[in-house]
Amino acid sequence: MTEPGADDADAAIADQSSPGESSAGESSAGTELHGFPLVESRGQSVLHPTREGYLDVVRTLAEEGYTMCVDVTAVDYLQHMDRPLPAAVQPERFEVVVNLLDLTARRRLRVRVQVPEADPTLASLFDLHPGTEAMEREVYDMFGIGFEDHPDLTRILMPEDWVGHPLRKDYDVGRIPVQFKEAHA
């Protein structure tokens, strides 16, 4: 059954990436902060430091007023290596995302660091922001990214003897066996 309407609906669905894309794509305005590319993503500031410069830049930012580290998380870009990044940034499989907050100036800054698959380690922010202790453990537990100089890098959510890091994209999702799955052929 080839209804003309089917194509219309299809087009409506396929077309839907257009409203956001024009306004919200990463505009690489070419600005820099402390020598690293600073981009706007949906009206939010994102800094892309190198792995080596990460700790120093977060320290400098803390001195500039970003006194609270709200969140540390990571993304495994295994299936999405062609994501948009500033030209100077070499995409790697893992990305650690740190959200900093400046309580006085009421502003936020997001720091995205590329972490290679071959050596997934990164400096710990613990000495700067002790509240990252549990968050870095969570990233270690879920992604297997090691934080150097973290005081107690153990699993936090998964059992101690768990094998693998569940939020990696190549970690198999368990399945519940389905009854009658042959029924539809």
Partner: protein, 448 residues
């Protein structure tokens, strides 16, 4: 995976096996520094000069005990390992993960439309806050965050503030129960249930509503909703006065909370604590006021702050915040506009039921929205709002598909329980219960 030797050596050097609190003799000076100096941002010498509990007793003078995961006052399945010397808590380590169900992984398998059912179950005492932050992040990615209808925005604020009331009322109940004020427990649950009854009237469910969705809310407010809200606004204030009479003037209750679990502003900021815990230390920080979202900048309310950063301040702030929320709800009632309750963007919103009967396109469109979902443009975004427990944030990375490539929720309870060791250090074991209660963690939020 081809791990480099550096990484292999690194992992070998971590203590992968042990999440538990070790004997004092096993810990190094560095570990003790971690517990005090690093958090206070002091040098080792300054931390040592701080004194506090007797330093370095022998192993045979101390005892490590487990509190939880089945202890009733740990609000779920929080397990604390406490090192005690007599009645004094020397060290404390929260051990979590007993309620971990992989909700962030689940979030990658669900479409943006289904995601609400997942996030609403994280902090199950403030489901609207979680739904709201997830929806706001999705809308930001879609680029429709400016286009949400006015009525939907005001409905969202109404539900979020009522949810703050219900959550804090439950805190009143559990805090009372933990301190032995058993009648308070019944009162708190009773009033919370009244609020939940209103939620049921609006969403069909007491909890886990999935009511706030990308694009607006699931359904318009039902007939008679205004009477339901007015009834709550009439019912609850005298009950709050009763709580005050019952608890504030009660010497036993005050003695058990005042001066217990003290935390300083610098500690709270360093630990990433938000919400009533941060405000109890005197730091005026409320996202509704200081980084406004929805229409909070148009409303009149006070940010309640404490002075001492103790358990009593945290209790008093929550009690006052119920009143502030009611003040907000009154203003929202006055300003609730007419109009659409969800955006009329056919890419996000399914067609109305009546259209499905008469239009093939509408039927197909409806079917595709609920099977495939709508595609969200590539990008990443972090949106944060003020939940009853502090900053709840949602980080979504989209690869342009109908499901989030990565969905992370910054859970306020997860950060807040890191304060427990600092609040308990040097206190009595009996106060540990009061301290846990005053942090008001929700373990669904901690473990996700």
């Amino acid at each position: 995976m081809a791990a480099s030797t550096h990484y292999r050596e690194f992992v070998a050097g971590t203590d992968e096996g042990d999440q538990q609190l070790a004997e004092r003799s096993a810990g190094s000076a560095r570990e003790r520094l971690r517990e005090t100096g690093a958090v206070l941002r002091m040098s080792e010498a300054e931390a040592a000069a701080l004194g506090g509990p007797p330093e370095d007793p022998d192993d045979d003078q101390t005892m490590i005990i487990n509190m939880g995961p089945q202890h009733p006052s740990t609000h779920g399945v929080l397990r604390l390992m406490l090192e005690l010397q007599g009645e004094t808590v020397l060290r404390c380590k929260p051990i979590i993960g007993y309620l971990h169900t992989g909700m962030e992984k689940t979030g990658e398998q669900l479409t943006f439309l289904q995601g609400g059912t997942n996030v609403t179950r994280m902090d199950y005492l403030s489901p609207f806050a979680n739904e709201l932050v997830f929806s706001m992040a999705t809308e930001r990615l879609l680029g429709i965050d400016e286009a949400i209808p006015e009525r939907a925005t005001w409905i969202r604020m109404l539900m979020a503030e009522l949810n703050r009331m219900s959550s804090h009322l439950l805190f009143m109940a559990t805090n009372g129960m933990d301190l032995g004020a058993v009648s308070m427990m019944i009162y708190g649950w009773r009033e919370r249930e009244e609020v939940l009854r209103f939620f049921q009237q609006v969403t069909g469910l007491r909890m886990n509503h999935n009511y706030i969705r990308p694009g607006g809310v699931a359904a318009d407010l039902p007939a008679g909703w205004r009477d339901g809200v007015l009834r709550l606004l009439e019912l609850i204030p005298p009950r709050l006065d009763e709580y005050e009479t019952l608890l504030n003037g009660q010497p036993i209750y005050r003695d058990r909370l005042q001066g217990v679990g003290v935390i300083t502003p610098s500690e709270a900021v360093a630990l990433g604590a938000t919400g009533p815990i941060l405000r109890a230390t005197g730091v005026e920080w409320d996202l509704r006021r200081h980084m406004p979202y929805l229409h909070y900048d148009e409303l009149d309310f006070d940010v309640v702050v404490g002075t001492y950063g103790d358990a009593f301040d945290r209790y008093a702030i929550r009690l006052a915040e119920i009143r502030e929320s009611m003040r907000l709800v009154r203003q929202i009632l006055d300003r609730m506009p007419a109009g659409d309750y969800r955006i009329q963007d056919k890419k996000v919103t399914p067609p109305p039921r009546a259209r499905i009967d008469e239009s093939m396109e509408a039927l197909i469109h409806h079917f595709k929205l609920f099977t495939e979902g709508f595609k969200v443009p590539e990008g990443e975004v972090y949106v944060a709002i003020e939940s009853p427990r502090g900053e709840v944030g949602c980080y979504i990375a989209s690869d342009g598909g109908p499901k989030p490539y990565r969905m992370h929720v910054r859970a306020p309870s997860f950060a807040n329980i890191q304060c427990l060791p600092h609040m308990m250090r040097g206190g009595l074991v009996a106060d540990a219960v009061a301290v846990i209660s005053s942090v008001d963690p929700v373990l669904g939020d901690v473990d996700r």
